[in-house]
Amino acid sequence: MKARRIITIIDETLLEGGRPVSPVARTAVVAAIVDNPWAGQGFVDDLSEGIEAVASELGALLAPRVIEALGVPLEAYGKAAIVGLDGEIEHGSALIHTLKFGDHFRKAAGATTLLPAVEKRGPAGVLFDIPLKHFTDATIRSHHQSFEVRIADAPHPGEILVALAGASRGRPQQRLAPLSTEQ
């Protein structure tokens, strides 16, 4: 696996709705720009070889970095695969929708749930939003949130942008009734 760039983003939200956020809401994203393992090969029926070559190594690269960037215990998480214009969305899904990839993050964060994800294809600089949910119970409504990202100059047509996101808490002023009150 060859990464061209690794981008880290840390967001600290101090005010929301005009009121202080306490504790400060932290979100961290780490994105790697890698070559699409199937670039230039036409339609590849069996993606397992490329998955084997890249997915686990990519998960191992990104997971400790997002934990380190967040800097405080993680409560919500998500992931993204943005495929350059010459690839299939299936190529991005192949890199992130395997246990080989996701287990690195789950293990590092002490998490148990499936990672919510965005998968899309677009030009370099495409805007995308990474969904995040609670790390041990995806039904916890306070932690449903998303984070906007735009990386200029990525992904190129033969590349895939793969990202992990972690958040320190639920939404800054979360105050919706829990799901259980409606069941």
């Binding site: 990464a3 061209r4 981008i7 840390i10 967001d11 005010l15 967040l70 800097g71 405080v72 200029a152």
Partner: protein, 218 residues
């Protein structure tokens, strides 16, 4: 310094508390590690960082063309400290920073002069130079924009601004900022020169003037 210690410290940072009381809504820190460029590995991976503060425009309720000095001296030093703290923590201290730049984007309800007030006076620039151990004038961009815009912020060498290898710029995406009555203030820094800088310098340039176009006159 790690992000962990920065996060722990920020919970009791009096500068952060003061800035929040003045309407600091968000702080964003980004790091771009460029490992490869032009198909070849960078000789030493360059790290470009940005720190962005989104704060209420101190002059949002003032009449147009009002005096800017009081709020400038109050707000700009706080932002210089918070932003350079994040650049230093991210890149590993002033010794690891070779180039810098700055920017401000005022929301649609403000004057372009409001953006300039927060970055173009000694209350911001002198502190940024001091904290990052630089001497050069800090290059910049400023604009007025709606939330969600993108900005490319220039950087040059922090002690020798004319060092050509360090001319570079950094893309910044301002998601959900600045709102109409806000200003986004940005400080950027880089660990080194462009990945494969090789366009010479003033010391190696041959004399060049318009005679190089000889024979192509209309």
């Amino acid at each position: 310094m790690t992000a962990t210690t920065t996060a722990a410290r920020s919970s009791r940072d009096p500068v952060l508390a003061r800035a929040t009381a003045l309407g600091l809504r968000r702080l964003l820190t980004t790091v771009d590690e460029v490992l490869e460029e032009g198909g070849a590995a960078a000789a030493s991976p360059i790290r470009q960082a940005s720190a962005i503060a989104v704060i209420r425009n101190p002059w949002a309720d003032e009449a147009p063309l009002s005096d800017l000095s009081a709020a400038t001296s109050e707000v700009a030093p706080l932002l210089a400290k918070l932003l350079t703290d994040r650049l230093l923590a991210t890149l590993g201290g002033a010794d690891a920073i070779e180039a810098y730049g700055k920017a401000a984007v005022v929301g649609l309800g403000g004057e372009i002069e409001h953006a300039g007030a927060l970055i173009h006076t000694p209350y911001f620039g002198n502190l940024m130079r001091e904290f990052l151990d630089g001497t050069s004038i800090i290059c910049f961009s400023d604009s007025r924009a709606d939330a969600g815009s993108d900005l490319r912020v220039p950087l040059w060498h922090k002690r020798q601004a004319a060092t050509r290898s360090h001319y570079q710029s950094l893309d910044v995406h301002l998601a959900d900022a600045p709102h109409r009555e806000e200003i986004a203030v940005i400080a950027v820094a880089s660990s080194g020169p462009r990945p494969h800088s090789r366009i010479g310098d003033r010391t190696t340039d041959v004399p060049v003037d318009s005679s190089v176009l000889k024979g192509l006159e209309a």
